[in-house]
C-alpha cells in the first residue's frame, strides 16, 4: 500500500515538474522568438488591414465622388470653384479627409478579435487642365494613406500604407449640348410631309431656349446665288404662334370670294391703274386681252362674211387675217368701207396693223382700246396661303412633284400650279426653279414644297431658336380679276363712221411665277409700291410667288430671349431682325468658325478608359444589372475603332460620353436604368467617322445625345455621319441629335417608313446638366477614380499624419 502511494506521488511530481519545464520553456520562448513572431504576425495583419482600408477608401471615393451633397463629391469639385473664382488651374495637397475610419475594415478586425486602431487620409492633387477651351476637365491623382495600429496596452505597432490613384475630373457640358438638332448639310426632307421630324425643345425659361442649326453645306449644285433653306409654314401648325398672329393678323382664314375656298391668310385687292413702274407695252401679250380682241375681230369678220352663226372656235393668225380680207372684199363689193362700216374698220385695223406673224396686236387700234379699257377696269387680287392649300402635298412622295389642289385649277388661281405644256406640266412655280440656267438646274430646293418639320413640338408650343440660312415660306396667288364693260369701237379717230357697241368680259388673268432674273415682264418688274399688307415683309411683284424673306424664327413672335455667343442674355424681335436671324451658328464675337467645322473635341489625357476595339469596350463595360444587360458609363471613354453594336443592350448606368473614332454604332432602344432625377445619369455617344444605324425594334426610344460629326468632313454624303433609320416608323430620341446630314426619306430602306416620325426631345439633363430638375440640383461634373494603383508603399513604424 505504501509502495503504491509513493508511486502516485512520484507520478504527480513528475507531471508537475513537466509542467514547470513547459511553462519555463514557453516563457523563455515568448520573450524571444515568440515576441518576434508575434510582431511579424501583427505587422502582416496591420499591413493587410491598412490595404483593406485603402481599398475601402477607394470604394468610398468611387461611390461618393459623383453623389451630390457628399463631402467627397464637394472636395473633387473644388477645382472648378477655384478655377472659376481665381483662375488657378491646379490644386495641390487638398486634404479630402484625414480622419476617416474605415468601417468595414474595423468590422473585419473586430470579428477576428484583433485590437485595431486605424484611420485614413486622402489628399487630392490636381496637376493638369485640358488645353482646349471647349473642354473643362482636369487630371489629378489622389494619395491615400491608411495608418493602422495594434491597439491596447503593450507595445504599439504601426503600419502605414500609401497608394496613389489617377483621377479624371470632367465637366460634361459642351456648347453642342444647347442644340436639340444640329444638321450641317442641306437636307431635302425638312418639308417632307410623309416622314416628319418633330423637335421638342426645352420649356423656355428666360434666355434658356433650345437651338436648332440647319446648314446648307453640300447644297445641290444650282445656278441660284441664294442657297438657302425654306421651310413651309402651315396654318394648322402655326396659326397659334404669336409670330403668325402678328404677321398675318387674322382670326380665321380668308377667301377670294364668297364661293372660293377659305384658305387665305390674307386676301386683298388693288386698283390696277394705280400701279406704277409697269408699262402698257408689257401687257400686249396678255392672252386674256388678246382673246377679247380676237373675239371682236372674229365677230367683225364673220359679219363682213355674212356668217350668221358664230363658229365654236375663233379664228386666229393667218386664218383670221384671210377671213378679214375676204370679209373686207365682200363689204367693198357692196360699197362699204371704213368710213361707213364698223366691221370693215375693225377688219382693216387688224389686217393692216397685226405684226410678228399675226401674234402682235400692239399696233392694232382696237386692241389698244380694249387694253386701255382693261387697265381702267382691272382689279388686282391676291392672297397669301400655305403650300398645303396649293398642292396636294400628301398624295405623292418626293421626288415627284405634287399635283395642284382642285380649286387652284380655276383660271384665276393658276399662277403657281397651272399644269400645261407652257410650264412643262410642272406648274409655273416648280417650272421656274427647275429650268436650267448656265447649264444647271436653277434651284431644286425651292420647289420642294410641303410642310416644314415641327420645330415647336407636337403641340407647337415650345419655341426653339433656329440658326443657319433658314427662312419661312408661304405663297401668294394673284390674278387680274374679270370684269364686264361696254366699249364703242369702229369709229375713226375724228369720230366719223359707224360705231359698234360691244360688251367685253375679259377672263381673269392669272399671274404665273417667273424668276426675277428672267426677261422682264409685268410679272417680275418691281412695282413702285409694296403690295404687302404687313410691315414685316415686302411684296413688290405682281406674279404669284413664294414669300420667303422672313426668318423662320419670326413664328416665335416679337420677342425672344437667348444667350448670345458670348454668353450674355440678349433679346431680339425675330420678325423685324433681318433674316436669317443667325446665318452662322452662334459663337463668341470674332470667332467666325463655320458651322461645318463644329465638332466635339475630347482631351485624350482626361479620358477615363481607352479601348482599341469596340468589342473590348463591350467586354469591359457591359454587365447585368437588375437582371438586364446594362452598359456602365464612367466619364469620357475612348474607342479607337470597330463598329459598336449596342442593339441588344437596352439600359445604361452612369454618366459620360462614348467617343468612337472610327466605326458605326448600331443602336435600338436605350434607356437609363435608374431614375435620372436622383442620379443625373446621362449618355452621350459621339462618332467621328460613322453613322448611327437603328436596329429592327419599332418603335425606338433612345435616351442619349447622339453625335455623328465626321472629321475631316468628306466631300460626299457617303463619308459623313447620319442617323440611318433602316425602315423604322417611330423613333424618339430623348437627348439631342447632331449629324452631318439627315434624310428621313432615303434610297432603299435606309429612311423612315412612309408616314413615320422622328421625334427629338431635348433632354434637360443634356441641355444643362447643372440645372435644378425635379427639385433636385443636378451635377454637371463627373469624377472617375482610376482602377489601378499607380504608386504603392508600406511604412512600418512611421506616421505621416
Amino acid at each position: 500500500m505504501r509502495r503504491r502511494r509513493g508511486f502516485i506521488l512520484y507520478v504527480v511530481l513528475t507531471v508537475l515538474f513537466a509542467l514547470a519545464i513547459l511553462a519555463f520553456a514557453l516563457n523563455s520562448f515568448k520573450s524571444g522568438a515568440v515576441v518576434q513572431l508575434s510582431r511579424n504576425i501583427d505587422q502582416n495583419r496591420l499591413a493587410l488591414l491598412a490595404q483593406s482600408a485603402n481599398a475601402e477608401v477607394v470604394a468610398r471615393l468611387r461611390t461618393q465622388a459623383n453623389t451630390a451633397d457628399s463631402d467627397i463629391s464637394k472636395a473633387f469639385r473644388k477645382i472648378f470653384e477655384l478655377y472659376s473664382t481665381t483662375g488657378v488651374e491646379s490644386l495641390q495637397n487638398y486634404v479630402i479627409f484625414d480622419d476617416f475610419i474605415p468601417e468595414k475594415t474595423l468590422e473585419i478586425a473586430q470579428e477576428a478579435g484583433y485590437p485595431l486602431d486605424i484611420k485614413c487620409k486622402a489628399v487630392l492633387n490636381v496637376n493638369r487642365k485640358a488645353p482646349f477651351k471647349s473642354i473643362s476637365a482636369y487630371n489629378a491623382y489622389v494619395d491615400l494613406y491608411a495608418q493602422a495600429n495594434r491597439d491596447g496596452s503593450g507595445e504599439k505597432i504601426t503600419i502605414e500604407v500609401h497608394e496613389r490613384r489617377e483621377v479624371r475630373i470632367s465637366d460634361l457640358r459642351h456648347y453642342l449640348d444647347k442644340y436639340v438638332l444640329f444638321v450641317k448639310n442641306y437636307s431635302p426632307d425638312l418639308n417632307n410631309p410623309h416622314r416628319r421630324i418633330v423637335i421638342e425643345g426645352i420649356a423656355n425659361s428666360g434666355p434658356n431656349i433650345s437651338r436648332v442649326y440647319l446648314g446648307n453645306n453640300l447644297y445641290p449644285d444650282s445656278a441660284d446665288p441664294q442657297k438657302n433653306i425654306w421651310l413651309d409654314i402651315n396654318y394648322d401648325d402655326h396659326s397659334n404662334k404669336d409670330g403668325f398672329k402678328e404677321i398675318f393678323k387674322i382670326s380665321e382664314l380668308q377667301q377670294f370670294s364668297d364661293k372660293a375656298e377659305k384658305v387665305l391668310f390674307y386676301s386683298g385687292e388693288k386698283v390696277f391703274k394705280d400701279f406704277t413702274n409697269i408699262t402698257v407695252d408689257q401687257f400686249f401679250q396678255v392672252a386674256s386681252v388678246k382673246h377679247v380682241y380676237e373675239n371682236l375681230v372674229n365677230d367683225a369678220s364673220n359679219a363682213a362674211n355674212e356668217i350668221a352663226t358664230k363658229p365654236d372656235k375663233n379664228l386666229v393668225g393667218s386664218d383670221l387675217n384671210a377671213h378679214c380680207i375676204n370679209g373686207m372684199n365682200k363689204l367693198k363689193s357692196k360699197g362699204a368701207d371704213s368710213s361707213n362700216s364698223a366691221a370693215y374698220s375693225i377688219c382693216e385695223d387688224f389686217v393692216k396693223n397685226v405684226k410678228s406673224n399675226y401674234s402682235d396686236y400692239s399696233q392694232c387700234k382696237g386692241f389698244v382700246q380694249i387694253l386701255n379699257n382693261c387697265i381702267m377696269n382691272w382689279k388686282y387680287r391676291y392672297g397669301y396661303l400655305d403650300a398645303e392649300n396649293v398642292w396636294k402635298i400628301y398624295d405623292k412622295e418626293r421626288p415627284n412633284i405634287p399635283d395642284p389642289q382642285n380649286w387652284v385649277n380655276a383660271q384665276s388661281y393658276r399662277g403657281l400650279s397651272e399644269i400645261s405644256d407652257e410650264f412643262n406640266k410642272r406648274g409655273p412655280y416648280v417650272n421656274a426653279f427647275l429650268k436650267e440656267k448656265d447649264g444647271k438646274v436653277y434651284n431644286p430646293e425651292r420647289y420642294r414644297v410641303g410642310r416644314m418639320l415641327s420645330l415647336f413640338g407636337e403641340d407647337n408650343k415650345t419655341n426653339v431658336l433656329v440658326e443657319g440660312p433658314v427662312f419661312m415660306r408661304f405663297f401668294k396667288i394673284a390674278f387680274l380679276d374679270e370684269f364686264t364693260d361696254i366699249i364703242e369701237i369702229g369709229a375713226k379717230s375724228d369720230g366719223s363712221g359707224e360705231m359698234l357697241k360691244k360688251q367685253i368680259n375679259p377672263e381673269p388673268v392669272p399671274m404665273p411665277t417667273v424668276r426675277l432674273d428672267e426677261d422682264k415682264s409685268f410679272l417680275n418688274t418691281k412695282l413702285g409700291s409694296d403690295l404687302s399688307p404687313s410691315t414685316y415683309y415686302n411684296d413688290y411683284y405682281m406674279m404669284s410667288c413664294a414669300i420667303d424673306t422672313l426668318s423662320v424664327n419670326a413664328l416665335i413672335g416679337t420677342n425672344v430671349k437667348f444667350y448670345d455667343g458670348d454668353g450674355k442674355s440678349k433679346a431680339l424681335n425675330p420678325i423685324t431682325t433681318p433674316a436669317p436671324t443667325f446665318l452662322n451658328a452662334l459663337q463668341k464675337t470674332g470667332a467666325n468658325v463655320p458651322a461645318s467645322s463644329f465638332s466635339r473635341l475630347i482631351d485624350l489625357q482626361t479620358v477615363t478608359y481607352n479601348y482599341p476595339e469596340s468589342s473590348d469596350f463591350l467586354k469591359s463595360r457591359v454587365a447585368e444589372y437588375d437582371g438586364k444587360k446594362t452598359l456602365f458609363i464612367d466619364g469620357i471613354m475612348f474607342i479607337e475603332s470597330g463598329n459598336l453594336d449596342l442593339s441588344d443592350i437596352h439600359y445604361f448606368y452612369g454618366k459620360g460620353l462614348i467617343y468612337l473614332r472610327g466605326g458605326d454604332c448600331k443602336i435600338g432602344n436605350m434607356q437609363r436604368c435608374r431614375n435620372e432625377i436622383q442620379t443625373g445619369d446621362s449618355l452621350r455617344i459621339y462618332l467621328q467617322h460613322g453613322d448611327f444605324r437603328l436596329t429592327a425594334e419599332d418603335p425606338i426610344l433612345i435616351e442619349a445625345s447622339l453625335g455623328a460629326f465626321t472629321y475631316p468632313m468628306g466631300s460626299d454624303l457617303s463619308s459623313q455621319g447620319s442617323l440611318v433609320f433602316n425602315g423604322q416608323s417611330q423613333v424618339k430620341i430623348l437627348g439631342n441629335l447632331l449629324v452631318d446630314y439627315l434624310y428621313t426619306q432615303d434610297a432603299g430602306s435606309y429612311g423612315l417608313k412612309k408616314d413615320g416620325k422622328l421625334i427629338v426631345q431635348h433632354d434637360p439633363f443634356i441641355y444643362e446638366p447643372a440645372a435644378k430638375i425635379g427639385g433636385k440640383q443636378q451635377d454637371p461634373y463627373h469624377v472617375s477614380i482610376g482602377p489601378v494603383r499607380t504608386s504603392f508603399a508600406i511604412n512600418a513604424g512611421g506616421k505621416s499624419f
Partner: protein
Amino acid sequence: MDKRRWIIVFSVFLCMTFALSLLKSFYRPAENIKKVVVNDVKKQNYSSKIKNDDKKRDLLPARIKDYGEIQYPEPAPHTFAVENSVSIERNEAEMKYRGKILK
C-alpha cells in the same frame, strides 16, 4: 503493471486538459478595443439608396417627358467656346497617335 501504466497516461491527460482549460480561461481579448464610431457621411449607403429609386421602365417610346419646372443656372463659360481649325487639327493628330498606341 499494465493497470498502472494506464493510470499514468490518464493522469497526464487530465493534467494537460486542466492546464489547457486554465490557459483558455485566463485568455481574453484586450479590453480597450475601441467601439467604432463612424460619422454620418460614412454611414450613408448610397448604392442601396440609388437602387431603391430604380424604376421599371417601359421600352416603348412613351409620352414626351415632363420634368416640371426647371431652374437653370448661368451657363458655364466654356460652353460658349467653339474650337477653331488649329485646335481641331491638333486634337486629330493626338487621336491618331493614341490610336497607334492602342492598336
